[in-house]
């Protein structure tokens, strides 16, 4: 028999109350008498152990579910990015071909205007020549405006293609300033409506080892995040982006004059799905993607107070020597050679082909092929060429096939190829671009750059059988 005042009963009552608080960690003592109260205590303890185990399993399941949900959201997000990238790449390809002939036609027009200016005084009366010169000046100014517009189109088209490359993980030397400028150009139109953005970029720009697309994504996400930090006042939101080198680290600051991030939330703000913004204003994924990309590159990201009054996001990455900002087709040779080069131009875009021919035939002997099959025929008929300027993405026989078949027939053509691309959308062309060491010009190409690349390829160990032929 046990009395009502048995302390073991009180103990069990405490345990039951703990159960009500979902605390299953407490155990009831069992005496050596092994009586009915002890039996109840043993039963209670076994129940507590089972419940404790069930709660632990539920926590594990919840954690696994959360991880799965985060992974799924990231997959969906990156899937969208890939789709946007593919779309951008396709659009860029369509823009870059016409942009190429507009850019090169500008060069043709400039030359013709210069020629016209030179002959005017000889052919016109004094008054007429003055009027013609004024008209020429206006035409040249308009031409310069058009060229500036083309430069902008080229930059935006190139920037949008960055995101189509960001799915790859290839690391290269990248200038941090370029990533900032690309992101600013892309996000600029949206940002301008909401904020004033200042770029304070150290020159030469800090170099980092990374993926250009990924780094542009980091800056874009930080800019978009800053733009969403607007206070509920009419004051203009200010955003400042700075880059600089601190010892062995490249540093990026994105400051804003917005609401700032409370100290207690600064750790959590980089967690997936965590957002302080109102529903619909943010997915809660932007900053977590920033953290993921930066960590993968061996860097750190943090948030603090900004002198502008809002938040300062700081990204630190291991610094390397600044990357060259031009592509491998860049060359310093610009003077035409003493001998005219023999050039075969291959492009499926007839207007671009005509413009290339118009410009290059002044200094070189030019043959044109409007497609890959015609190029192979031309090379079969006369393989004596110094340069094959070949578009990569063409219907039917593409540039990769032209190169492979031509070199198979005549291996000495291997270093004669100079490719151009408006942004490869075909996987086969993309793979070739990623692995080849041959020079590739990105459309739209400036004439000086085209000329320099042609000179580099054309004068490289010039083939003896071509001399004087």
């Amino acid at each position: 028999m046990t009395s009502a005042a048995d302390p073991r009963i009180d103990h069990m009552l405490e345990i039951l109350l703990a159960f009500a608080r979902q605390d299953f960690s407490k155990r009831a003592p069992i005496s050596d008498s092994l009586d009915e109260v002890d039996a109840l205590a043993a039963g209670l303890n076994m129940l507590a152990e089972e419940l404790d185990g069930a709660v632990a399993s539920r926590r594990e399941l919840e954690a696994a579910y959360r991880a799965l949900r985060e992974a799924q959201a990231k997959l969906v997000h990156s899937g969208k990015l890939v789709a946007i990238g593919q779309l951008a790449s396709g659009a860029a390809h369509e823009i870059n071909n016409p942009a190429s002939w507009v850019t090169l036609s500008h060069e043709v027009l400039s030359r013709r205007l210069s020629e016209l200016r030179a002959v005017l005084p000889q052919t016109l009366t004094h008054d007429s020549a003055a009027a013609a010169r004024r008209i020429l000046q206006e035409a040249e100014a308009a031409l310069n405006d058009a060229q500036n517009g083309m430069e902008r189109i080229r930059d935006v088209s190139g920037d949008s293609r960055l995101f189509s490359r960001s799915d790859g993980e290839e690391l290269e030397a990248v200038c941090l300033n370029e990533a900032v400028e690309s992101a600013h150009r892309l996000a600029g139109p949206t940002l301008r409506a909401q904020a004033r953005v200042d770029l304070r970029l150290e020159t030469p720009g800090p170099g980092v080892r990374g993926n250009r697309g990924r780094l542009a994504q980091v800056v874009t996400n930080l800019l978009v995040n800053a733009a969403q930090a607007q206070r509920a006042t009419d004051a203009e939101l200010r955003i400042s982006v700075s880059t600089w080198v601190d010892k062995a680290e490249a540093v990026l600051w994105v400051d804003d004059s917005g609401t700032g991030v409370p100290v207690e939330l600064r750790e959590r703000i980089f967690e997936p799905f965590f957002t302080t913004k109102p529903a619909g204003a943010g997915t809660g994924l932007g900053l977590s993607l920033v953290a993921e990309i930066v960590h993968r590159l061996g860097g750190t990201v943090g948030v603090g107070d900004s002198p502008l009054g809002g938040a300062r996001f700081e990204v630190r990455l291991p610094a390397i020597q600044p990357a060259p900002s031009e592509d491998p087709a860049r060359a310093t040779l610009t003077d035409p050679p003493a001998d005219r080069l023999k050039i075969l131009i291959v492009d499926d875009e007839p207007r671009l082909l005509r413009t290339y021919a118009l410009l290059l035939s002044e200094d070189h002997d030019v043959r044109c092929a409007p497609g890959g099959a015609q190029a192979l025929d031309a090379l079969a008929q006369d393989p004596r060429v110094d340069v094959v300027l070949c578009d990569l993405q063409m219907p039917g026989v593409d540039g990769v096939a032209v190169y492979q078949q031509a070199v198979k027939r005549d291996p000495s053509l291997g270093d004669r190829f100079l490719f151009s691309t408006g942004g490869g959308v075909l996987p086969r062309v993309k793979d070739f671009v990623a692995t080849t060491r041959l020079p590739i010009l990105e459309k739209p190409v400036r004439f000086e750059k085209l000329q320099a690349a042609i000179m580099t390829v054309g004068t490289r160990g010039r083939r003896p059988d071509l001399k004087g032929s």
């Binding site: 092994l34 009915e36 039996a39 039963g43 076994m46």
Partner: protein, 126 residues
């Protein structure tokens, strides 16, 4: 008759063809104890599977981890059937909990009468 002992139990081979395991008074059976008892049983039987009569009247407590050991595949490699002989209210509570809360690979039953327990054990297929 050979008797082997673990920290919590005495084991002997009954001439009728089963193992008798008698728990010491006040035994708290945790995972380590449970594993040791399996090993001692196997040593006693020379690795043969045999029916086991467990006199658990001295049992004070059995942890969740210990219960898991007794329903593991390793335990079924040792015994063909288990008769749990209980006496004290505590051993009855633990025995009942053990029987109803877990799925057993070998036939297992609870008895308050030793003769009935032995009779049932001897009826079980070997």
């Amino acid at each position: 008759m050979e008797i082997l002992s673990s920290k919590s139990c005495d084991f002997e081979l009954d001439a009728r063809g089963f193992v008798r395991a008698t728990m010491h008074q006040g035994t708290v059976m945790d995972k380590q104890e449970a594993l040791e008892n399996l090993h001692v049983t196997a040593r006693l039987t020379g690795g043969r599977r045999m029916p086991v009569l467990v006199d658990s009247r001295g049992l004070k407590y059995q942890t969740k981890e210990a219960r898991e050991v007794f329903v593991s595949p390793e335990a079924s490699e040792v015994s063909t059937a288990v008769a749990l002989f209980v006496g004290s209210p505590v051993s009855r509570m633990i025995g009942n909990f053990f029987l109803r809360q877990t799925t057993h690979r070998t036939p297992t039953r609870l008895f308050t009468d030793e003769t009935a327990a032995i009779a049932w054990l001897l009826e079980q297929p070997r």
